[in-house]
Amino acid sequence: MVTIKDHKTVKHPPQNTLLETIEQHQIEIQYHCREGYCGACRTKLTKGQVEYKTDPLAFIDDDEILPCCCFPISDIQIDIG
């Protein structure tokens, strides 16, 4: 499950990137490249863990993730600001 602050809690299908799941629920989230190199989708991860299948190149802080190329590996809480 993915809990999005100020929005709702949604189910995450494992084949999706986190970005795709958020978009499927019509929640506005930024993106440009969708490949992990621009940082437009930068989001705070407040709880839980994600993994990357390709190396994210964009700068992110220790508590941030790139939804366009990450996959949750536990229930997570995020804040898309």
Binding site: E28, Q30, R34, E35, G39, A40, A58
Partner: protein, 376 residues
């Protein structure tokens, strides 16, 4: 310190700072102090493209259909972008290479700048298609006062760093009087100039292209100037990567992951860095006003463009710890994202101009009489 093209000191590049340590000697990439730059090099090279691969011939017909105010918007944006890439095609090399101390960053800067030269070449490709002889457009770049104003603001931080570096290389630290002017050269001052320059470059890569990108893609939304739009998408993809690199440099400094003195300077000069960014935002808004002075275009006006600049600026500024100074929360031009994503941005082979076709295109002005003596 005198620059040397091959530093004979057997230093360990893994403990050098990014800038102002020993000059780089061996160009080796098997080990990196900051692996991110090696990854950026690989990514950038994988993006390689040639302007000639994009067929822009249909744009010539479209261009004739534009209103005069739309022509003004289209051409002015190309001039501004030509200016930006003229600066970026040389300046990172000249300003940063002489003071870089790790091979992966040195090569990243060279790769980055090389791609800016591809961007410059693509403007010639676009303009030559529209005008045959684009001289008057290029000539105006050094005459147009709106463009010159921006040129000065961008190049001054580079020029300042380059001049101080030259004094340091030839005369060393100290107080130097050159042609009656006094210059105080200390390592601290050099590093401050570097910090401000990097912030100015970061702001350039972060927002200075986005007003013109928005106009280009607004034309494309109306199925106009699509060859141009395809080229701009390829450019935008590269610019995103350049921005990522300057954000990494600034954050490595600020978070104390490189040169501890740069962390102090980042703290000390935070206000100046913020002002550099905000000034670039202001200039972009003024640019929007200049573009729309004769009338706006379908789908875009000055207000919405200014909001978009603020929206982008919030994102970019927060990425380097400068907060989100503008109130805007939602993207006023959501369709922009489709053009800025990497999906389908690769040039499709069937759309490319093969070189024989290019030759045909150049010759298309030749009239039938020219073949009078040919016997087929």
């Amino acid at each position: 310190m005198k620059y040397t093209t091959f530093n004979q000191v057997n230093n360990n590049p893994l403990i050098e700072p990014m800038f102002f340590g020993n000059p780089v000697n061996v160009a080796r990439y098997d080990q990196q102090k900051h692996p991110i730059f090696e990854k950026l090099i690989e990514k950038q090279i994988s993006f390689f493209w040639r302007p000639e691969e994009v067929d822009v011939s249909k744009d010539r017909v479209d261009f004739q259909k534009l209103s005069d105010s739309e022509k003004h918007i289209f051409i002015s944006n190309l001039k501004y972008q030509t200016l930006l890439d003229s600066i970026q095609g040389r300046s990172p090399n000249i300003a940063f290479l002489p003071i870089i101390s790790i091979p992966e960053l040195e090569t990243w800067v060279e790769t980055w700048s090389f791609f800016e030269t591809i961007h410059s070449r693509s403007y010639t490709h676009i303009l030559r298609n529209l005008f045959g002889d684009p001289s008057s457009i290029f000539d105006d770049i050094v005459e147009n006062k709106e463009i010159k104003k921006r040129a000065e603001d961008i190049s001054k931080y580079y020029d300042d760093l380059i001049f101080a570096t030259q004094l340091w290389q030839t005369l060393g630290e100290g107080t130097h009087t050159i042609k009656g002017e006094t210059h105080i050269i200390t390592m601290r001052e050099l590093k401050k100039k570097l910090y401000l320059c990097m912030n100015s470059v970061n702001a350039l890569e972060a927002i200075r292209f986005y007003v013109s990108f928005a106009c280009t893609f607004a034309f494309a939304e109306r199925e106009l100037m699509e060859g141009n739009s395809k080229i701009i998408r390829l450019i935008a993809r590269d610019e995103n990567l350049h921005l990522t690199s300057t954000q990494h440099v600034l954050n490595l400094w600020a978070k104390g992951k490189d040169d501890p003195e740069m962390a102090e300077i980042a703290e000390e000069c935070k206000e100046q860095a913020t002002q550099i960014f905000l000034h670039a935002v202001e200039q972009e808004k003024e640019w929007a006003a200049f573009l729309f002075q004769h009338g706006s275009m379908i789908g875009l006006n000055k207000e919405i463009l200014c909001q978009y600049v603020e929206f982008i600026a919030n994102h970019r500024m927060s990425a380097i710890g400068l907060g989100q100074p503008f109130d805007i929360k939602n993207n006023p031009l959501p369709w922009m994202n489709n053009y800025l994503s990497s999906d389908n941005v690769q040039v499709a082979p069937q759309e490319s101009e093969i070189s024989s076709y290019l030759v045909g295109q150049i010759d298309s002005e030749v009239s039938a009489e020219d073949f009078g003596d040919f016997d087929l």
